[in-house]
């Protein structure tokens, strides 16, 4: 399980990321990606440090963080499974795939299993539209999902 970090620890690690990236033109998104990579989410404690480092208001930073689907307010499960729900995948039965996976994992979209093993998310297009329906498990792409592949995925996230 994720250890609870002290807020001073979060602040000092955030400050280091800001220091490294603040000279980029338009540094906020790279910094937020850096923070999410470091902590697995963008902790509340990091926001005032960013605001201070970039001379922005906390409201502005909050506005940016909450605008983008990628940035999480809380840590995700150990695995993140994204199921494509866009049109090309719909035409190949992504609805049924989603229903089946939700049932097998016992969670819905934007939810994490109680044991913290996996977070399930919809994604609108992975660019694998000629091999639909598709998914991404921890950054690995999977195409032409069928029952066999679904079972492999579920077994992997449960292991």
């Amino acid at each position: 399980m994720t250890m609870q970090l002290a807020s001073t620890e979060i602040q000092s690690r955030t400050a280091a990321i800001i220091q490294e990236l603040k000279d980029l033109e338009g540094p906020l998104l790279p910094i937020l990606h850096g923070i999410q990579e470091e902590f697995g989410h963008v902790p509340q404690e990091a926001l005032p440090v960013i605001a201070d480092g970039l001379n922005l208001s906390r409201a502005e930073v909050h506005g940016v963080v909450t605008f983008y689907h990628d940035f999480r307010a809380r840590p995700a499960g150990r695995h993140v499974l994204k199921l494509c729900q866009a049109e090309a995948c719909q035409s190949m039965g992504s609805d049924a795939v989603a229903t089946k996976i939700k049932q097998l994992l016992g969670i819905g979209f934007h939810e994490t299993t109680r044991d913290g093993s996996v977070t399930l998310e919809p994604v609108y297009c992975l660019g694998l539209c000629a091999c639909s329906p598709s998914a991404m498990l921890d950054g690995e792409v999977i195409g032409r999902l069928d029952d066999e592949k679904i079972e492999e995925i579920v077994a992997e996230v449960r292991s």
Binding site: L29, F71, E87, Y124, A130
Partner: protein, 518 residues
């Protein structure tokens, strides 16, 4: 000579198991003590044949596909390193009908070369366009691009040369080239393929754009859903810098140009150019009102060329072979070639680059081979989530910006999603509104509120509540969204909705009637 084995590292091929195949081949080579070089190329785009493994033989390249890890042992037994016969044998890749019928200009090298070898790139005609450009006056480069007839391949179809001219003519201490690689439309993967399979062509195109307009800095904004493209582009930029293609003296000329790869954060609306600029600046990806045009006040308020990946990747061949060569392909005001992406429920899905002018029917039936499910084609959505659904009755529409507009549709980024007769068009119309509601940036009311009201109204239609009244309401709402939205998200969501209602009225009949009809 050590044999070369090409195994695609393209995301689409990886999604179909290319990594396992590569590992199996490496293991088999080691076990048999055979020496060979494995090259991770891009994909040629025939996804129904991926993972497609190729071997360079004395008689040219020989392809095998789709290869499964369990095929590897028998491939070696059949002598595939010298092109031996096997049940997966496909012969010379450029003779495979799906590939042989194409006109590969922008994608000429994609799937052929090692994406990160600048030597391969040069050996296959790379950098010739840039070499010509560094010896030319900026205005002449802009003129050549304008004369080629190249129009924005991201969807809007705006003439690329005219955009460049505005930036060239605007005086500023700093200008930018921004490449829109936020390819969020379902059914599109051309940008991803070129970034993974031939990244130098994009770098070359952006550098030419920089020299042509006086911009010295470029950004490629890639969506976060494309981690492989991000990695390949980052590595390619480093290679290009080391080789002096990027830097203070581009190819030894006095022109300076450098670029950075930036990653989006999962917002579809950031594919809209002004919203993308805000995102690059570190702001919420909210759409900006135009004017001012980005060409005059773009990134950080400076004159900015913002072009789609394919527009920029088409520039090197125009600068290499001339405007007339490129313009010679196509029809009407749609000149050159377009990478058509055939996706969804289709037998032969993949990327098909061709001159403008093929009919929708030829693409879906002849090239795509009909549906994967074997059922009749019911509808084809052209141009992504904001594109119209076309019925078979409109299959004679030629692939051309104006011809599609005349049928109340759009080419967009040239992605096609094929649906079989099990598709419920009311559900598709509802999804279009729902997607708009999820992805709306919230700046303008027709998009922010209209999309949510749209979902509710279509739900009432589905429930059979006052169908005539609600159908009229959806139509009116679509009209408001189309003419009252700031950008294409709210403005084009009516295309899939209205085309579903117009071409498939039976799916919108009240529930009892629908049940009776089934």
């Amino acid at each position: 000579m050590i044999p070369r084995i090409y195994i695609p590292g393209d995301s689409g091929a990886l999604a179909l198991g290319a990594e396992k195949v590569a590992k199996a081949i490496a293991r088999e080579l080691a076990e048999r003590g055979v020496e060979a070089k494995i090259v991770r190329n891009g994909s040629r785009g025939a996804y129904f044949l991926e993972p497609m493994v190729e071997v360079a033989t004395a008689n040219g390249r020989v392809a095998y596909g789709p290869v499964k890890p369990s095929d590897v042992k028998s491939l070696f037994d059949c002598g595939f390193l010298t092109g031996g016969h096997h049940k997966r044998w496909l012969g010379a890749p450029d003779k495979i009908p799906f590939l042989a019928k194409q006109t590969r200009l922008t994608f000429a090298r994609c799937g052929v070369i090692d994406p990160l070898s600048l030597d391969h790139y040069k050996a296959h005609g790379g950098l010739r366009g840039l070499q010509n450009a560094v010896a030319m006056a900026p205005a002449d480069i802009v003129k050549q691009v304008t004369e080629s007839g190249l129009r924005g391949r991201g969807g809007a179809g705006f003439p690329t040369g005219i955009k460049w001219k505005t930036v060239l003519d605007t005086t500023s201490d700093r200008k930018y080239i921004v490449c829109n690689a936020d390819e969020g439309d379902s059914a599109t993967f051309a940008d991803r393929m070129i970034m993974e399979g031939d990244p130098f062509v994009l770098i070359e195109g952006m550098t030419i754009a920089g020299i042509a307009t006086g911009a010295t800095k470029g950004f490629v904004y890639i969506r976060s859903e494309y981690p492989h493209a991000v990695a390949t582009m980052n590595r390619a930029v480093e290679v290009a810098r080391k080789a002096g293609v990027l830097g203070v003296n581009v190819l030894g000329s006095p022109n300076a140009f450098d670029m950075e790869i930036r990653v989006g954060a999962g917002a579809y609306v950031c594919g809209e150019e002004t919203s993308l600029l805000n995102s690059l600046e570190g702001k919420r990806g909210v759409v900006r009102a135009k004017p001012p045009l980005p060409a005059i006040q773009g990134l950080f308020g400076k004159p900015t060329v913002i072009n789609n990946v394919i527009s920029l990747a088409s520039v090197p061949i125009i600068m290499d072979k001339g405007a007339a060569f490129y313009k010679d392909y196509g029809m009407g005001r749609s000149r050159g070639t377009i990478p058509i992406q055939i996706a969804g429920n289709v037998r032969h899905g993949g990327l098909f680059e061709a001159a403008f002018g093929m009919t929708l029917g030829e693409i879906v039936d002849d090239i795509g081979g009909g549906t994967a499910s074997g059922r009749p084609v019911k509808a084809v959505q052209v141009g992504g989530p904001l594109g119209a659904y076309f019925p078979r009755a409109l299959f004679d529409t030629p692939f051309d910006y104006e011809a599609f507009a005349a049928k109340d549709g759009l080419i967009g980024h040239a992605g096609l999603t094929v649906f079989d007769d099990t598709a419920d068009m009311l559900k598709q119309a509802r999804f279009a509104m729902e997607f708009c509601a999820i992805e709306s940036c919230g700046k303008c009311t027709p998009c922010r509120i209209g999309s949510t009201r749209g979902v509710e109204t279509i739900d009432r239609l589905a429930a059979g509540i006052e169908p005539e009244k609600n159908l009229a309401l959806v139509t009116d709402l679509c009209n408001t969204m189309k003419f009252g939205s700031l950008c294409a998200l709210g403005g084009f969501t009516p295309y899939p909705v209205m085309s579903s209602i117009t071409h498939f009225p039976e799916d919108f009949k009240p529930a009892p009637a629908r049940a009776a009809a089934e």
